[in-house]
Amino acid sequence: MSSFRHVCIQLIRALLILWGAFTVTFFLLQMMPGDAVMVRFMDPELGLSPEQIEAMRVLYSGSSSPVFQYFHTILRMLHGDFGYSVQLGVPVRTLIEAALPVTLRLAVVGFILSLVWTLLIAIGASLLPARPLRQIFQAIPGFWSAIPLYWSGIFIIQVLSFKLRLLPVVGVGPWEGTILPALAVSLPIAAPQAKLLLQQIEETERLPFVMAIRTKGASQRSVFFRHILPNSVTPCLTMAGISFGELIAGAIVTETIFGLNGLGRLTRDAVSGQDVAVLQAVVMIGATGFVAANLVVDLLIPLINPSLRSSAGWKETSGS
């Protein structure tokens, strides 16, 4: 009963966050100088007169007040209608439908890869026989989080695709085309996760029960995989939930470099073209991803950690 209540509270909270994100971005976007109609139709190539442009503006945004538009937009979004992209002349829904799978693929593959890295780093830093080797693994998260994403992306393309010809980057199938960008995006996502996991492992190793298990005669490897690792992953889950939202921001850069046409590219173009409807939709998708990931984590944690089954809350455990 109480866990049902807990889920309900979290759901309401999630909805409130979504509403807040909508409101904040709506008014931020309203404050932007100029508008998409101007950006698109003032292009001298089109040779439109100012009167024609004004007519376009009325057509697109109507002449109603921002407050009216605010409620109008909310209602529309609740019906799954995201409006019209002024810049590309296509319904936003069409754009999102085309872009979302690309970014989701990127996010999912990148996320899984990042988990693989995280695990490998943790294993290397804990189990490798030589101390210097372990220290190198311990330094990897710091190193990776210092690599600019666009820079590593460029080098991944040049080396893996063009020099070694492992995978093409243009004209490939959706999943093949995801691998290299996912590789690029997985490094900065893995870095904070791995850093946190290493920290947790270090803390877990100091706990008395680890020593108690060693006295049972368990080997280092067995202690690590059976006890230390499972007891260290909970906070990392929280971090993973947060980083899922960041994947969308990461996608802006990755998709630019790898020429993917996902949400990131859409966002980038929408920002430069001030395509408010598209931006609003992208923010809502990002926020939904963030909120959903956190909900999932919130519900997952008690399954992983039995002692937290009565009182779970990602709010308190999240850290840098």
Binding site: M32, P33, G34, D35, M38, V39, M42, P44, E45, L46, G47, L48, P50, Q52, A55, L59, Y84, L88, G89, V90, T94, A98, A99, V116, L119, L120, I123, I154, I157, Q158, S161, F162, R165, L166, L167, P168, V169, V170, G171, V172, E176, I179, S219, R221, S222, F225, R226, T256, I257, F258, G259, L260, N261, R265, L266, D269, V271, S272, G273, Q274
Partner: protein, 542 residues
């Protein structure tokens, strides 16, 4: 001893490696025979309403899927038959009559007849406010279209329209089906909605990523140099914004044709045995135009000083290649009516210094010039579509700094740039260039009701206070309406001289569109203004 459950330490990296290897296989050997030709464009298409075809990615698609009434020979610039078998015009160029080739159909099967052509031109010439279609900038003084018989159409003009014949050959005058023009303007953002009669048909449009073209098997109404159906069945147009990826993908065999090769990459492409193509855009050369409404450049001595203080040769040598000839006038040397004004464009820093001195701009402590305590500081926005524009402006800034003039290179959001570019106080300079193989191009660029590069009062911007050059405007109008070709070209020469004498523009180089193709690809053709034509493209197996 107990055996630990698993040893991911060993198996994980191995598995990962195997995965990567497995996935890389199809990529490595994926080039099957008779495959699709892949074309990489740095930008995605926008609205494909044919008059908006001036934008390169749009042109790249429209030139494959639409035909025009006439065809302009890129070498002789002569107007030749295409959809129109022949044509005639009246004495003062106010009536044009075209005879349409029989048997031409749109890709949806509907006939391309006089009625369809009339509807196209009616829309291009007058716009369609209800559906938000704007007027084509190539067509001036249009009055109405008249269907004489199913294969004859006549266009009426309010004033003489000598440029109209050429205008029927440009990309912006591609003929689309009447159904296409009954859609709203916004629906033309989707390439599959454009129904033309060209050698290719859009089979798929993935926004922002890809447009697929497939050949029309029954096509046989091409212009004289390419009458028959396309040699390749499939063309895939991919959007790849990154320069280094387009070049890398071409060299790695992942693409066959790429557009926009920067000058610094030409060497390695040629070195690798790939071909470069640099069709000229034949219009107004890439240059820097002044907005004399801004008091800083209102003084002709300042403008002249900057004209002579710009080492144009250095710009071309350092940043560009032989595909980018040094501009010798405002117009491209390949354009009709071109006149060589090199003598008036000489680099002369001494003269430039004297001119600035005489205009009252004295060098201050830091080497910059001041008048009444204000520095000579001029703002300009980067124009992204032009090759290496940012670097070029940095180099110009470097040169002007020696004169004591500061060039302030600005960046901003798209809206901010547009607003700035309409305000001569913020942007006394602008980057100018327009590609079109007709003398009318001068009017397109400089006339207040058109692009209004100089920003005149009563033009595109309401921020302009005083500047208006009636002489120039009259000359430009004259070009557009003069019927006699020789007279027209004479006027074109006069305008070029006028622009340079008034130092309204610093022409820098003739801008080409540079393409690179893989060695076993042949048949890439070009429009008169450098848009690719894929009809004859084919891959020869090595």
């Amino acid at each position: 001893m107990p055996v630990p459950a698993a040893s991911p330490l060993r198996s994980l990296p191995a598995g990962l490696f195997a995965l990567i290897c497995a996935l890389s296989m199809p990529g490595a050997e994926g080039h099957s025979q008779n495959r699709t030709i892949t074309y990489l464009d740095p930008q995605e298409h926008t609205n494909l309403y044919p008059p908006a075809g001036g934008f390169y990615p749009n042109g790249g698609i429209l030139s494959q899927i639409t035909d025009r009434l006439t065809w302009q020979d890129p070498t002789t610039l002569e107007i030749r038959p295409w959809l129109a078998t022949d044509w005639s015009m009246n004495e003062d160029d106010t009536e044009y009559t075209f005879h349409i080739r029989p048997g031409v159909t749109f890709s949806d099967g509907s006939p391309l007849d006089a009625r369809a052509v009339a509807q196209n031109y009616q829309t291009y010439g007058k716009g369609n406010p209800a559906l938000h279609f704007p007027v084509s900038e190539a067509i001036s003084n249009f009055d109405r279209a008249e269907v004489i018989d199913p294969l004859t159409v006549r266009f009426h003009f309010t004033h003489p329209a000598p440029g109209f014949l050429q205008a029927t050959s440009v990309l912006g005058s591609g003929i689309v089906s009447p159904g296409t023009l009954q859609r709203s303007f916004d629906e033309l953002g989707t390439a599959t909605n454009i129904i033309g009669s060209g050698p290719f048909v859009v089979s798929a449009d993935i926004p922002g990523k890809e447009v697929d073209l497939s050949a029309r098997k029954d096509y046989n109404w091409g212009p004289e140099n390419r009458p028959a159906r396309a040699k390749t069945d499939q063309i895939k147009i991919l959007v790849v914004p990154e320069d280094s990826i387009r070049v890398g993908a071409l060299l790695a065999g992942q693409a066959d044709i790429i557009r926009q090769v920067e000058a610094y990459d030409e060497e390695q492409i040629r070195h690798a045995g790939y071909s470069l193509h640099a069709p000229s855009t034949r219009g107004v050369n890439t240059g820097i135009a002044f907005r004399p409404d801004n008091p800083l450049v209102a003084d002709i001595r300042v403008r002249k000083a900057l004209l002579h203080g710009t080492d144009r040769q250095e710009i071309v040598t350092v940043l560009y290649s032989e595909n980018y000839p040094l501009a010798r006038s405002v117009l491209s040397s390949k354009a009709a009516g071109f006149v060589d004004l090199s003598e008036k464009l000489k680099f002369d820093p001494v003269l430039a210094g004297q001119l600035l001195d005489s205009a009252g701009w004295r060098r201050g402590e830091n080497g910059l010039r001041y008048k009444d305590g204000h520095p000579l500081r001029l703002g300009i926005h980067i124009s992204l579509p032009h090759p290496q524009n940012k670097t070029m402006l940095e180099l110009v800034a470097q040169q002007w700094r020696r004169l004591g003039v500061e060039l302030d290179i600005m960046s901003g959001s798209a809206a901010g740039v547009l607003l700035d570019n309409l305000d001569p106080q913020r942007t006394p300079l602008t980057v100018s260039e327009v590609g079109r193989a007709d003398p009318d191009v001068l009017k397109s660029e400089f006339f207040p009701k058109n692009r209004d590069a100089l920003l005149q009062k009563g033009g595109q911007s309401n921020k302009v206070q005083h500047f208006q050059d009636e002489t120039l405007n009259a000359m430009l109008l004259d070009i557009a309406s003069r019927t006699d070709r020789a007279e027209r070209l004479k006027q074109v020469v006069a305008v070029q001289e006028y622009l340079i004498d008034k130092a309204y523009d610093i022409p820098l180089f003739e801008e080409p569109q540079v393409y690179a193709t893989s060695p076993n690809l042949t048949g890439l053709g070009f429009e008169a203004v450098g848009r690719p034509v894929f009809q004859n493209v084919e891959l020869n197996r090595p």
